[in-house]
């Protein structure tokens, strides 16, 4: 079908669309640009009038300070360990449980799943204080255990993976069972490979959520040795209000890993984000 377009009118509208898109994108980028720029300035030029759009002189002293005087490498290491362990845990446990809920029949299945869904509605702040007391009782505060174990599985992850696994045809699983596979083997050899797109989404959402999480790690860690990047950055921002250039160096170091991962896996990120919203 051919629809005649009126070229002139459309080109004006297009021009306007591009103008708005470009202007708003610049507004989105400026804060990031300003943050990177400031991190490369000498402190005394941070609030110079008129503002320095290009750092002169360009300096790395702020990064050197943050990396040597403040344990940012340690924060980074903690963030990596916590995010990776949490993500691996969720991939394994959430998918396994989702498989049981989606594809196996056992007494009480629907009732248990319903309770899971109810719990999903409870905001984490409700559990926060008792959780903290549990951590102190177990002597888990200021250890990786407190940062990782409570988040090893997530109801949201189970729910999402269940939706995903429901679309795998039962015949495939039955064929594997007839071949003598145990339920775990069916999961490992048949379900997991088929679930890879769903798992990719789960990995991204869990990793991002853990990397950026603030309140929980803030509460269960008191020593710098255990701080994750956001906690360390907030700490730096509080106690070092005067030196903005150093804070910005910390900001860049905190944000950069996530941004790099995002730029490389953009498609998966966007698909992951939209999957939850559009499937309902």
């Amino acid at each position: 079908m051919i629809i005649r377009r009126r070229p002139r009118k459309i080109s004006v509208a297009r021009l306007l669309a591009y103008l708005i898109l470009i202007a708003s994108s610049i507004l989105m980028i400026i804060p990031f640009y300003w943050s990177v720029g400031t991190s490369l300035k000498l402190e005394r030029f941070v609030f110079a009038t008129p503002p320095q759009w290009w750092p002169t002189p360009l300096t790395l002293t702020n990064y050197i300070h943050v990396l040597t005087r403040i344990p940012f490498p340690r924060y980074f290491y903690n963030s990596v360990v916590v995010a990776i362990c949490t993500t691996l845990g969720n991939v394994f446990f959430d998918t396994l449980a989702a498989y049981a809920f989606a594809k196996l029949t056992f007494p009480g299945r629907d009732r248990i799943f319903f309770i899971f869904l109810l719990v999903l509605m409870v905001p984490s702040q409700v559990n926060l204080i008792p959780m903290y007391r549990i951590m102190t009782a177990l002597h888990w505060t200021d250890t990786y255990l407190a940062l990782i174990v409570p988040n090893l599985t997530s109801v949201f992850g189970i729910f999402m993976m269940r939706q995903f696994l429901m679309s795998i045809p039962d015949d495939l699983l039955d064929a594997a069972r007839i071949d003598g596979c145990s339920e775990y083997k069916v999961f490992n050899k048949v379900v997991l490979p088929l679930a890879i797109p769903g798992v990719a989404t789960l990995i991204i959402l869990t990793f991002m959520g853990t990397w950026n999480d603030f309140l929980w790690p803030r509460i269960v860690t008191n020593t710098e040795r255990l701080f994750t990047l956001p906690v360390g950055l907030a700490q730096l921002q509080m106690k070092n209000t005067s030196n903005v250039a150093q804070i910005m160096a910390g900001t860049v170091l905190t944000a950069l890993p996530m941004i790099i991962v995002f730029l490389f896996m953009q498609r998966q990120f966007i698909e992951g984000m939209t999957a939850g919203a559009l499937k309902e």
């Binding site: 809920f101 702040q125 950026n212 309140l215 956001p230």
Partner: protein
């Protein structure tokens, strides 16, 4: 399938009936210890005078009554949080929809623009807040620009009348890209034939928007508002980093106040705050649940 000999059949029976439970053991235990029990304990504490140091003392609904009748700061946090939600949800999703509509016009470099909008969404709120604290500084970029235009500097985070709005602005900047991406995906899934048929019928672009685009987005719009409202009511990170609730409680929100009471070792009181938040969120979850079950009944 031929019947297996008895022991094998028995093994298979045991296997089939224990494996599923084994598969859900870890989530079940985690949920029990880190969600279910804390949830009940929290409710019990909300009925107690409890500092965590001395034994809890049962005081019934006193904490709740105190919060609503004798704690003007708590009422202020309720108002602040609601204002935060109203302003954020009033503006954010609209910007998200507008940018999505623009991006959906088959523009070039669509993914570049989308990346720009989405970048802050996957950046930690602590990072975003730290950057905005610098921008909002008395001598920061915003005031430099305003001053350059010959206007007086603004106390973005130090003026109690403005501080909450400043936090909202930063939060909208951070979050609307999520809505852009969701709306864009939803727009792209609307069948082209609908638009083509409407164009043949002579519908203008405004009519097409009202009669095709908006109704097709109904589901997504509800999703975005409900999740947005639920998420915004839990606002904490921005407040903690940007204003710490000040100046004079003008930006204190429910969760920030809860955190403060927790730090002050008023654990019973803080638990009551948590349950009030819970009640607010349940209300919105209920609305959403009604909407989606209605949808299913219609279909």
């Amino acid at each position: 399938m031929t019947a297996a000999p008895f022991p094998a059949r028995f093994n298979r029976f045991v296997h089939k009936n224990t494996m599923p439970y084994l598969f859900i053991t870890v989530p079940l235990i985690t949920m029990l210890f880190f969600m279910f029990i804390p949830m009940i304990v929290s409710f019990w504490w909300s009925l107690n005078d409890y500092s965590g140091l001395q034994p809890a003392k049962f005081i019934g609904l006193t904490n709740y009554i105190q919060l609503f009748t004798n704690d003007p700061i708590f009422i202020k946090t309720l108002v602040n949080t609601t204002l935060f939600v109203l302003m954020g949800m009033g503006i954010g999703p609209t910007i998200g929809l507008l940018t999505a509509l623009l991006l959906n016009q088959k523009v070039r470099f669509q993914s570049v623009f989308r990346t720009a909008y989405y970048l802050p969404v996957m950046t930690s709120l602590v990072v975003v807040s730290t950057i905005w604290v610098m921008l909002y500084n008395h001598n920061g970029l915003f005031n430099s620009i305003i001053n350059g235009m010959g206007l007086a500097k603004v106390g973005w985070l130090s003026n109690p009348n403005i501080a909450l709005v400043s936090v909202v602005l930063a939060s909208i900047w951070q979050g609307f890209g999520f809505e852009t991406v969701i709306f864009l995906a939803a727009l792209q899934s609307i069948p082209r034939e609908l638009y083509e048929a409407a164009m043949i019928d002579g519908a203008g672009s405004v009519q097409r928007f009202w009669n095709i685009t908006l109704p097709s987005l109904r589901h997504v719009i509800v999703f975005i508002y409900i999740y947005g409202i639920i998420g915004s009511y839990q606002v904490f990170d921005q407040i903690f980093v940007m204003t710490a609730g000040g100046p004079v409680y003008s930006t204190s929100t429910i969760v920030h106040y809860l955190f403060k009471k927790f730090m002050d070792l008023q654990l019973g009181y803080a638990s009551a705050i948590a349950y009030i938040l819970f009640a607010i969120l349940v209300l919105f979850s209920f609305i959403q649940w009604r909407f989606f079950t209605e949808k299913k009944l219609e279909a």
